[in-house]
């Protein structure tokens, strides 16, 4: 199959979709290609923090100012994806005493609003925080649901006439002399080859951007870094909590949806798919988290995961010390840099600044393709965001409350209130036999039991409605994927969950276990 477009975006993370949405609004014809599913990469693996900018005020003032400005804009244009939790920065006994004043001044000069408040007032609202904190500051942090953001962006792009094509791999560039003129990719579902000609290609593949560029014979100044995060099964705090020190590991807690996320670590890695979860990293994170949440061991931890940051490595920057690399974004025009016209790469950046990255990238594109309308993303609300609030548990509860829970409305996933109807609906919209796709779309199996019950029920539905589904309905691969995120938390209450899931899967349902193995 052959297609042609004006702007082809590689990567359907927040950056790629943000660029496509911006370009659609300016009147360009756009196609987005994604190797996996929505939210399968870095954007879906982040801690959920809409930065106020305060975290970077000292270490990276330019990023701090960007974050502060974008924070205000996103609250207007993607408000259904945001929960205004507010944020606090805590000064704890033993923290460097001169840092808070320096930080406060830095916030002021980056236009990041900060207000000092008495620690006792914070403790009244957040009793789980450590007693004896010395100072506390309120900032405009919030929680941003990236799953919902990406779905809303994709839907808005499609409604505006753009295309988002998921699960396309094996990318190869088409060339005409030095110019990149298009790509050839395989649709992973059908196996068919697709040929897309495009006037301009934007490489927004995040941690995979280096691999994409290498297919055009180019090297990118990219440094990858792993961030491990842990979700609590519940919200021990209702406000984003930061430590008022130089950014380090395990110093943020973000309440988002039904969970709270403790983040993060920062370890250099060499490949974009090094997302395996290391038990010692998780344990180290818990030890650090105990500083912000002294009774962390009383809380049930739900799941750990790893996201890979695609950081820009400035000339002379060391990829072995990723924590100190700037978080700002960089747009590389390969025509100016390498004499390869037709290709732009976007590196670095943060989810909070995805809109600004997109705007600047499309500005560069417009200078090559000819400008049409000016950027409109700072004043246009996402359509999908208004019409598709399916990730909020209270909304689902209200919906179930209105109608009787019978017929096709049986609840398949009790933790996240996913009904049989929701699954049928999702299968109709995007036929898949992969339960992990349903998870990303519906939050199936993301609650405390980590799919112990709903995986079997959903596999039944998939098996009944998709003739091409595997014999077990995809149950075992899905449970193995869930296992990856819970095994590193197998102590206290989560070990009980782990053992419950083992019992159900192998002893009650009788899934085939390997005959022998190391004991």
């Amino acid at each position: 199959m052959k297609l042609s477009t004006e702007i082809l975006v590689i990567g359907a993370g927040a950056t790629g979709l943000g660029i496509a949405w911006d370009a659609c609004l300016r009147g360009y014809k756009v196609i987005v290609l994604e190797q996996g599913d929505l939210a399968e990469g870095t954007s879906g693996r982040y801690h959920g923090l809409l930065h106020s900018g305060a975290r970077y005020a000292v270490s990276d003032p330019a990023s701090a100012a960007d974050c502060a400005a974008e924070n205000a804009i996103l609250r207007q244009v993607v408000s259904p994806c945001i929960e205004d939790t507010g944020g606090v920065f805590l000064v704890l006994p033993g923290d460097p005493p001169e840092y808070p004043d320096r930080w406060q001044r830095a916030c002021q000069s980056a236009s990041v609003p900060v207000e000092e408040i008495p620690p006792s007032r914070i403790l009244q609202r957040e009793p789980a925080l450590p007693h004896g904190m010395e100072r506390a500051f309120h900032v405009k942090d919030a929680a941003l649901d990236s799953f919902q953001l990406l779905h809303s962006l994709a839907r808005s792009i499609e409604e505006a006439g753009g295309q988002v094509r998921l699960r396309h791999a094996g990318l190869r560039f088409l060339r005409h002399r030095s110019r990149v003129t298009g790509v050839e990719v395989q649709d992973r579902r059908t196996g068919r080859t697709l040929r897309i000609e495009s006037e301009l290609i934007v490489n927004a593949a995040g941690p995979w951007a280096g691999r994409v560029a290498s297919r055009a014979g180019l090297r990118l100044p990219l440094a990858l870094s792993r961030g491990t995060m842990i979700a609590f099964a519940g919200r021990p705090v209702q406000t984003v909590v930061n430590r008022c020190t130089f950014p380090g590991d395990g110093d943020i807690v973000v309440p988002i949806g039904t969970v709270a996320v403790l983040g993060t670590t920062d370890e250099p890695v060499s490949a974009p798919d090094h997302t395996q979860i290391e038990t010692d990293e998780v344990q180290a994170l818990v030890r650090l988290g105990r500083v912000l949440l002294p009774d962390i061991d009383q809380h049930r931890l739900l799941r750990a995961w790893v996201g890979i940051r695609p950081l820009y490595r400035p000339p002379g920057g060391r990829s072995s010390q990723t924590r100190s690399l700037p978080r700002a974004h960089y747009i590389l025009d390969h025509d100016a840099l390498h004499g390869v016209p037709g290709l732009i790469s976007v590196l670095g950046g943060k989810l909070t600044t995805y809109r600004r990255m997109a705007e600047q990238t499309v500005d560069v594109a417009a200078s090559q393709l000819g400008a049409r309308r000016p950027c409109q993303t700072s004043s246009t609300s996402l359509r999908g965001a208004r019409h598709h609030p399916y990730h909020r548990l209270p909304d689902r509860l209200a919906r179930l409350d209105r109608g009787p829970a019978k017929g096709p409305h049986e609840i398949v996933c009790e933790c996240e209130l996913v009904t049989r109807h929701d699954i049928h609906d999702a299968l109709e919209r995007a036929p898949t036999t992969d339960l992990d796709d349903l998870r990303r779309g519906l939050r199936l199996g993301m609650g405390p039991c980590q799919a112990a019950f709903c995986a079997y029920r959903a596999a039944d539905i998939v098996r009944k409605s998709m003739p091409q589904a595997p014999a077990d309905g995809g149950l075992i691969p899905f449970l193995e994927e869930r296992w990856r995120g819970i095994r590193a938390l197998a102590w206290g209450p989560m070990l009980r969950q782990v053992e419950l899931n083992q019992r159900i899967t192998f002893e009650l349902l009788g899934a085939a276990a390997p005959k022998t193995g190391p004991s």
């Binding site: 395996q276 038990t279 344990q283 818990v286 030890r287 061991d297 009787p404 829970a405 019978k406 017929g407 049986e410 609840i411 398949v412 049989r420 019950f453 079997y456 029920r457 596999a459 039944d460 098996r463 009944k464 014999a471 077990d472 309905g473 149950l475 075992i476 449970l479 193995e480 296992w483 990856r484 095994r487 590193a488 197998a490 102590w491 206290g492 070990l495 009980r496 782990v498 053992e499 419950l500 899931n501 083992q502 019992r503 159900i504 899967t505 192998f506 002893e507 009650l508 349902l509 009788g510 899934a511 085939a512 276990a513 390997p514 193995g517 190391p518 004991s519």
Partner: protein
């Protein structure tokens, strides 16, 4: 008459209580929750790596079976089977071999004994098998149960059968269906509604929801009216066959005079009432406050990781929950789960190390208490899920612990 305190109301604790009470002891059973039988298939898995009676000789070093003899195991199983027959829950067994029983994912899993309703033994080898779920019941899937072809027998997937009662205003659980079957007087009408869909089927496989209190009658009546054997397959929890087993054990325990104290969390022996290496009384938090239960012997049957017999902290350090006994484990800074869910899990082997009389050992390798014994899931050294040894260990070690405690 010996005063015995048993802690735990799973298979091991209930069986130990019944045995001791029948042998004339004054038994108090303390349980903080409900025990784990709602997660049980109701089957008795003894040893799936070989013939069940060879478990004590084939089990590796450190396995709980190495602490019981073949005759203990046989006697434990026999007395259990007799006890269940008395309670109207007859078990089926094949001497010297395992039975292969269908599962909800279409596999065959080995067990030494099974409730009659789950056995394939009454089904002729050439019979046309049909498997069906129940409309609106999410916890059993006919196509998934047919997926493994049950050891290459062809299985026809039948559309879900209507439940005995019309849909209500909430989702159906296995226990709802079991209660519906229990309370239907006219099962003939249920059978009639099913018969069209079952045309040509010579044996029906379906979720294990055919009654709870009146299971035997429900199962028999439906078979009579349909004219074909019905085989039950365990579902997602709550697992009704496990609850039938729990009920039979409760009735046996009450009949034997066991004092059953629910909602009581045992927390250790009592200072001042216990001398040296003895526990002369067990303290427990009860709904009425802290209480003290005098004991000449104690059997710990508090279960493994799932049921709280022991706990780990985030550094992998663990303790037994009632007496704070040291745990035998290999977590020393390493990992205690495997990268794959389906692989053997190192933590399965954690638990209490015991002497020949099943007395838990202190750090110095000698019995922590002269009169405290351990049975069931809390014992170290077995991967019960993959050995298929869970209930066999429960019965055999409960049997052995009772003998040692009453000596």
């Amino acid at each position: 008459m010996k005063q015995l305190v048993v802690v735990g109301a799973g298979l091991a604790g209930l069986y130990a209580s019944c045995l001791a009470a029948r042998r004339g002891s004054d038994v108090t059973l303390l349980t903080s929750g409900r025990g784990g039988l709602g997660l049980s298939s109701g089957r008795i898995e003894v040893w799936s790596r070989g013939p069940p009676d060879r478990a004590p000789s084939e089990a590796p070093r450190g396995h709980p079976y190495r602490r019981v003899s073949a005759s203990d195991l046989r006697a434990a199983v026999d007395e259990f089977r007799d006890m269940m027959t008395e309670q109207g829950l007859p078990y089926e067994q094949r001497p010297g071999a395992n039975l292969l029983l269908p599962t909800a994912l279409g596999a065959l899993r080995a067990a030494a004994l099974t409730p009659g309703s789950q056995s394939l033994s009454r089904i002729p080898p050439e019979a046309q098998l049909g498997v069906a779920g129940v409309e609106g019941f999410r916890d059993f899937s006919a196509p998934l149960a047919a997926a493994g072809k049950l050891g290459r027998r062809p299985v026809r997937v039948i559309p879900d059968l209507p439940p005995p009662s019309p849909p209500g205003h909430r989702d159906l659980y296995s226990t709802d269906l079991a209660t519906q079957f229990d309370s239907r007087e006219d099962l003939e009408e249920v059978a009639q509604r099913w018969s069209v869909a079952l045309r040509g089927v010579e044996a029906l496989l379906m979720p294990a929801v055919l009654g709870w209190r009146h299971h035997a009658k429900v199962h028999h009546t439906l078979e009579q009216h349909l004219g074909i054997p019905i085989v039950e397959i365990p579902t997602l929890p709550p697992s009704v066959p496990g609850l039938r087993l729990e009920r039979a054990l409760h009735l046996a325990a009450f009949a034997a005079g066991v004092d059953y104290v629910e909602g009581s969390r045992a927390v250790g022996r009592v200072a001042g009432r216990s001398r040296g290496r003895r526990a002369d009384a067990v303290a427990a938090f009860t709904p009425g406050g802290m209480r003290v239960y005098p004991a000449q012997a104690v059997i710990l049957a508090t279960g493994g990781a799932l049921h709280g017999g022991w706990r780990l902290n985030s550094e992998g350090e663990g303790r037994e929950s009632v007496f704070g006994l040291p745990l035998a484990h290999q977590a020393d800074g390493g990992e205690w789960t495997a990268p794959q869910m389906a692989s053997p899990q190192p933590y399965s082997y954690f638990g209490l190390r015991v002497d020949r009389d099943l007395r838990p050992l202190a750090a110095d390798g000698t019995p922590a208490f002269e009169n405290v014994f351990a049975a069931g899931g809390i014992l170290a050294g077995a991967d019960r899920t993959r050995d298929g040894s869970r209930q066999g260990i429960d019965l055999a070690t409960a049997y052995r612990a009772v003998r040692a405690a009453l000596e």
